[in-house]
């Protein structure tokens, strides 16, 4: 398994963050896992990394329903940052709204990053599958 430098989780639900951290740390070899409460905080951090020439996390777990800035808004802004690397963005949601699926397809086609759509719950197998570097 290829070592992954940084993994980022963007989710407002503490339990989900806890679960994801636990799953990732037990099945993937990575140096750090960062988490952000909503899209806004995450975007600010990413923008800062990009400006300072720091590495952007290789894998991002993204929730959709969040306060202040939701997952889609984050995506919209994130794909505009001229990041050369191909980032893996795993959307993790419990939504079965067809609108969300459409949004995903829309962003998938608009961006060079690898964007996947995953419904909760996520188990150990799933985690190893979607934590490969893009």
């Amino acid at each position: 398994m290829k070592k992954i430098n940084d993994i980022t989780i963007i989710d407002d639900d503490a339990i989900t963050v806890f679960g994801l951290r636990k799953l990732i740390s037990s099945s993937v070899d990575c140096s750090s896992i960062e988490s952000y409460d909503n899209g806004k905080i995450a975007l600010d951090a990413m923008t800062e990394f990009f400006k300072n020439g720091q590495k952007i996390p290789q894998v991002i777990f993204l929730d959709i329903n969040m306060p202040i800035m939701d997952g889609w808004e984050f995506l919209e802004a994130f794909i505009k940052i001229p990041i050369k690397d191909k980032i893996r963005i795993n959307i993790v949601t419990s939504s079965i709204d067809p609108f969300d699926k459409k949004q995903w397809e829309n962003y998938k086609s608009k961006s060079h990053h690898l964007i996947t759509f995953n419904q909760k719950p996520i188990d150990r197998n799933k985690i190893s599958e979607i934590t490969q570097v893009a």
Partner: protein
Amino acid sequence: MLYNVNDNIHNNNIAKYDIPTTFVRNYIGMIKVPQISNASYLIRQLPTPTAFIDTNYNIVQTSDKWSSIFDKNEACSDSKSLFAVFPNLSHKWKMVLNNCFKGNPQPMGIHQSIDCTGHEQWFEWTNAPWYDTDENIVGAIIQLSNITEAVNNELELNKKELLLEQQAEITKIGRWEYNIAENKLFWCSTTKSIHEVSPGFVPNIETALFYYKEGHSRNAISMALFEAQNNGKAWSNLKLQIITSSGKEKWVMAGGKPIYNKGKMVGLIGTFQDIHEQVEADIKTIDNEKLLRTLIDNLPVNVYIKDTESRKVLINKAECEYLGVNNPKDIIGKNDFQLYSYEVAKKSREEDLKVMNTLKPVIGKEIVRTTLSGKETSFLSSKIPLLNNKGIAYGIVGISLDITPLKEKEKELRNIINIASVQNKKLLNFAHIVSHNLRSHSANFSMLLSFLESESDENEKKSIIKMLTKASNNLLETLDNLNEVVSINTNTNIAIKEMNLNNKVVDVCKNLSPFILNSKSKIENIIPTDFEIKTVPAYLDSILTNFISNAIKYKHPERQGHIILSAERKAGYAILSIKDNGLGIDLEKYGEKLFGMYKTFHDHKDARGIGLYLTKNQIDAMNGKVEVSSEVGKGTEFKIFFNEKN
């Protein structure tokens, strides 16, 4: 013959004169002619035109009167043939003269001649044998009497009678005369033909009355006759019915008046006119008009006729009712500008002109008319040009069907469809929210449980159980929220009450007072103290609490919170305004999501994203609405519309 010659005196007188005569030889004709000697002086003085002729019709002697009529030259008055004076001597007169020569005097006759001035003259002649002293007939004495004037009068009269007759035939106006003294009634031929009796029919006053139809007609004519005979009153233009001798009913116009002779009423004369066709036509016209009127008055559409100036010339009952008058006369002659608002009238006039100019009718056009009183009505309007016999429009017929109730139904229906689609959307949205929320909780549970299963570390186990408890609490809270939403949306029998808005605001502020005091915010309530609204009390509580606490929660950190509550009424709504000077919301970004579930826009520890969602549901449930205006960094104003129709 009208000219009355009164007697035969001439004959006798002349016969009695003893005129001394001698016979002289007529050298031309070798005939013996009586000679007149000294008697000629006497003859010349005779007061009537008189001539003595011999049996060869030669004039022997004339009176001066004769000469003055016929002789241009006094010298040659005598010894002329009678044929010179009367070139076309009638056969009758010649015969009479011949008989006279034989001693058989015969009655008079009339004859025409030309006098010395060339004028036509009419004479009545009488002859007597001319005896000589031996009682032998030597000729005849002719006496003339000038009757030219009488003859002319008679010719004139004949002409007039002929004219009258013709006139009567053409106009169908007959005459009648009634002679009171003789009790004789005369009908002219036209009068007879109107009665359909033979030309030889002799009417009398009783049969004449009997021809009138029993009832009104006979009574009326009897009264008129009575009035005329007893009071000398004339009558005219009596429209009556007769029954002709063939049994036909006919309308006639009768007139009559008394005639007098030396102040005494001697009879009655009058006219008698066949007006049957006219009256029948009139009756038919009236019937047709009635039929048309009945038809248009009972049509469930508005009907009107306009002239070229767009003035109404005819309107039916429905149009009267629409324009709010009882009598069509109040509208007739008025144009659209006097009946409708200027804009409507201008449009209508333009359309009228177009229809009349192009001769193309407008059929079933949907329009809205506004009367001067401001009443708005939707019509399906048709305008059809009225053409004269030259094919030029002299006006239009308008037919308008009031479709206002239909339009309202349509609007209502559209509204219902709208509501249904909004509800449907809301429902689907809610379903997704429910599914999402429950699924996210259950996902957390299953994840935590799977961790717990494989976890050996006791401390880690404890922390997972703590997480599970938290997840369980979250689920309960979520269920509570969903429950609340469902109850708002499913409770259709919500009891709406009139409430004093100001009092309610004061109550809610009291409940929130620790919170308000803590934030050092200022609340300004300028709602009129008597401002009543129709609302569900519990919802009003929730609405006020939510908006006021939101305004405090999201106050600007650099200034004191200032919240102004005011109210007004507008277009069927009581509107509550809650205006703050807080953080403001970027409506362009969040406007759509403002009232969504679990949407929060400020990084605030107490934001749950459920308050506005519930509030919005409550407002919707009361058929109200909410509007928001905001500027980031300056403040927000929410306007809550309470429906007054509740």
